[in-house]
């Protein structure tokens, strides 16, 4: 009985093995063939899409939008004829090819071409296809639909996207937030920030690129976002304000640094360093004497960017007393603080503590200053 069982399972395994191996080879051959066919379709679609996107058309869409939209219709009809897209079936390979090519181009087009692209997605029913996918039970379908909605600038998807900011899956939330920013622009930023509950580092990486492209326009929205009750969102807004470097953010950062929340204070200090506004000098000076090591480190790093001789004394104290990482940051700040800083480093290069000496000598060496004890005049 046992041997019969072994024999049967072995033959089953053998059958699976043979099926798997043959299936794999067939799949390889088939996918090669499909790839060639897809490539051919894509070439054709790209060719006719270029005609649609770059044909001259009057009037200016900003002046007469309705007439402009009307004039686009013959071009769209021509594209339909050229690609033989009389069937609206989703499985039509030419239609799929058009969608693929248009989505690839979509992230690269701007201005009037962007309007044509959005109209194309609408006209061929791609936006309509998308809406049910945003409510699909599979997370990857929802996430992909969000991403596609953003690329299509699908305004009808906005209410659903806003709802998906609370989705259980993080990838869906990221794609929904990104799509909202793509569709609504900077106006979508504050609603996104106020709606989000948590932000992984990946989400911050994703969203920051778009937000930083808004530059100064994003500052008022980030100031709104800073009022979020979620610390990660607050921190993200502070980071972005620092990266944008707009001095109009200084008052709100000064307000937030006064709250005794170390994570917010640390990020605010880094932001001050990036913005480089003189109003931050007294605050940085205060935090150089903080009891929290992370805050002293952040303050020293901010001081390096501000390069203010006014805080050289406090930096000198850190260089002499703190741990290696803080000392390195303090020494770097001193090296950038002009003559006062160099004097301080020269003094530190002669103290008894070996690690202080080594750090001071490292930065003096980088500055091209040779201490007198090392065979040259300072």
């Amino acid at each position: 009985m046992f041997f019969l069982f072994v024999l049967i399972t072995t033959f089953l395994a053998l059958f699976l093995l043979a099926t798997g191996a043959i299936g794999l080879v067939v799949h390889k051959v088939r996918s090669g063939f499909m790839e060639t066919r897809r490539y051919a379709y894509d070439i054709t679609a790209r060719e006719f899409l270029n005609v649609y996107l770059f044909s001259d058309i009057e009037p200016d869409p900003a002046e007469q939008p309705e007439l402009y939209q009307e004039r686009l219709l013959p071009l769209l009809a021509q594209l339909r004829t050229d690609l033989r897209l009389h069937s609206a079936s989703r499985s039509n390979p030419r239609r799929r090819s058009l969608k693929r090519v248009a989505l690839t181009l979509s992230s690269e087009v701007i201005g009037e071409t962007r309007i044509r692209m959005t109209r194309l997605f609408d006209h061929f029913g791609f936006v309509d296809d998308l809406i049910p996918q945003l409510a699909d039970s599979a997370w990857w379908v929802r996430a992909n639909a969000c991403r596609t909605a953003g690329l299509m600038r699908a305004e009808p998807a906005l209410p659903l996207l806003e709802r998906l900011l609370d989705d259980e899956n993080e990838d869906v939330r990221i794609e929904a937030a990104q799509a909202m920013l793509d569709i609504a622009g900077v106006a979508g930023l504050a609603p996104v920030l106020m709606r989000l509950r948590e932000l992984s580092l990946w989400m911050q990486v994703r969203l920051s690129r778009t937000v930083l492209e808004f530059r100064g326009d994003a500052v008022p929205h980030l100031v709104v976002g800073i009022r979020s009750e979620h610390p990660q969102v607050q921190g993200f807004c502070i980071d972005l304000l620092g990266m944008i470097g707009d001095v109009s953010a200084v008052p709100v950062l000064l307000e937030y640094i006064s709250f005794e929340v170390p994570a917010v204070q640390r990020k605010s200090l880094i932001a001050f360093g990036r913005i480089g506004d003189e109003r931050a000098v007294p605050v940085i000076q205060r935090f150089l004497g903080s009891e929290e090591r992370e805050l002293r480190l952040a303050a020293a790093r901010a001081a390096a960017n501000l390069a203010s001789p006014a805080i050289a004394y406090h930096l000198h104290a850190l260089l002499l007393k703190d741990d290696t990482e803080v000392r390195l940051a303090a020494a770097e700040a001193l090296a950038r603080s002009g003559e006062t800083g160099v004097k301080s480093l020269l003094y530190a290069s002669r103290v008894e503590d070996r690690s202080v000496r080594l750090i001071a000598l490292q930065f003096l060496h980088d500055l091209g200053v040779v201490p007198s004890g090392e065979g040259g005049a300072a």
Partner: protein, 474 residues
Amino acid sequence: MNGFARELLQTLLISYSGFIVAYFVAVNLFYFSMLAISFGAIVHYIRRHLFCDYRVIMQSEFSPAISIIAPAYNESATCIESTTSLLKLNYPQAEVLFVNDGSRDDTLAVMMKHFDLVRTERAYFPAVPTKAVKGIYVSRRAEYRSLVVVDKENGGKADALNVGINCSRYPLICAIDADSILEDDALLKVAKPFLDDERVVAVGGIVRIANGCTIDRGRVIDVRLSRRALPSFQVVEYFRAYLSGRMGWGALNGLLIISGAFGLFRKDIVLAVGGYKHDTVGEDMELVVRMHRYCCERDIPYRVEFVPDPVCWTEAPESLKVLGRQRNRWHRGLLDTLLIHRRMLFHPTYKVLGWLAFPYFLFIELLGPLLELFGYIAVITGFALGVINVQIFLLFFMVAVVYGVMFSVGAVILEEISFHRYPRLRDLVKLLVFGVIENFGYRQITVWWRVKSFWDYFRGVKSWGVMTRTGFKK
């Protein structure tokens, strides 16, 4: 042989056969489960991959900075090419720390000349104790400003890595072999888990075999199988180990090995556990196990991830002699690590590690070759004594081969449905064929090397053995 001895031997053989059958069933059930878990993990990875535009990591100031540590010993022939390829990697903020581990050849001179290096007064603070550092050099040329070359007394690979950790400035450290080639986006991909989950403390990337591939200026431009059999066998083995092994362990948070050729670690945790251990040949595995222990014992939420996509290409041994040395060293490293951390076995503090990963590595990976060798001896003895039923033996042999092939083919299928890096149909067919014929000869040789490593270990052999490399095909 008298009757009693014969009877005793027969009883022993029959008992051993029963044990082997039970072991075989358990092992194959386990492998099958791992294959299924890996399949699920790869499908999940690919689905997530659909929404991942790695260029945003490249463009973001939020991306954590990485220190790449490349230890080198007598690498004058390859150091320029490998360092140049590291400097070209796509990543927003990274430094390359080339650690010359007291090379006897002119590695340092070659580096100094090519990269226009100048000695700095950069302070060296050994957070992890190491051999003395003789000098730290940086380039005068702006294009190499992220390169730091550290010259130190010879102390072995682990010591060189520790020097790199001490000199590193960034929160993530990437340990790589100086003679490996990383794909341009490898760092972006391997850094992604650190962005996804703040609990991640280490990430291992897949290592692939470059023999047979065409390499141009430090980049693999055409992927194909080697024409020689030995590297091709290793390709199938690597698929099994990485795609159906480490992928599954990563999903279970039980990954004990991150290849020394390519791994990314959180520096604070590496420093907290004391860096790489000097007196073991399996320093890569030992470090990961120590990180697991550290986090489990302190109840720190953590994850050790495996990413199947970032690719590090390495040159596989092309001769049996060199391959034998490599496998012997790997097995000694495994044995050493399991002995050092034997306390973890079935210990509830270590959760999945103590109950699953550690027993797997002990009873299947480490002791498996011994049991297999005893099995071969038992078969020969059994035939000599005439106590083996030929039909049953053939059936068992067939079952063993079929299951062995099934896992190899399973790994090839995983590769083909996920990353299909071998574009040619011919290579796919070859991989399937090698998955079958490795069971007849190659497998038995590797068993012998691994068994021999026990002998070497208990004799106190600690050497790496000379790893002769023929160099990448250009």
